[in-house]
Symmetry: C2
Amino acid sequence: ARPRVGYFYSGKTGNQLLGEHIRKLSVRDRKSIPVVCREDTSVYDAICTMFLEDVGTLFVLKENGILVGVVSRKDLLKSSMGNQDLQSIPVGVVMTRMPNIITCHPEESLLSAASKLIGNQVDALPVVKEETDGLEVVGRITKTTITKAFVELGEGASV
Amino acid sequence: ARPRVGYFYSGKTGNQLLGEHIRKLSVRDRKSIPVVCREDTSVYDAICTMFLEDVGTLFVLKENGILVGVVSRKDLLKSSMGNQDLQSIPVGVVMTRMPNIITCHPEESLLSAASKLIGNQVDALPVVKEETDGLEVVGRITKTTITKAFVELGEGASV
């Protein structure tokens, strides 16, 4: 007969349990606010927005709010090397354009999003919802998001 | 009598176990190779090094290998906004200088390093050893390091 105790051995190792715990964290609960610009914003203004908003990646939207591109600090740094007038180059020239953008969904696990950041060597993912005319951006997941979650898990906070 | 089984309830929650597991990870086991330059390297050459080595932060060393500064993609992007000749500005002008540099030690926990990254809003920490004439750089911890550890923990890999 099974001993009458209030717990049972699940057959799982400690590592498996940890994995399960991490997999419960969701993009929805962890995403931060997206910072956006237009395709015709100048590289100069995009750099200013990055500093003012203190982010490393901007999402580039069409007038109807649909995602068309992503521009990173790295893209802007590269374009600033060429001795060009940064006020005259639009973000649309230097950004990564749809459909080559790695995205995530609010329902996705934070682990899956973290795995995309590493696997695709990007610093940020737009959190998107599918609309009839494209993807609407509802949030942002970055390596900072993941590092914060790691710290909270390590400190044993209930996350 | 206690049932004869090969396991015991430790009284710890999943959160506590996860926290303990994370706290065991060390900077020594996780650090990556530091990418460095000199104080008189031009901003232009520093940007090139960043792209060639695919890093977001360079550590600036004296001739004897001692840490004098840290320069980030953000610092270089800021200096490239001013319509200046990037070849004529030395890194020493735009870098963060000792003693205002947040560092970590090989013996430190990865959690402590992650906490410094978040608390000080920096993307990378030099891993340093104390020498008689200053700090020697022996590695690099970034938000990418932490994100990779998070993914491995979540996937249940033995880390």
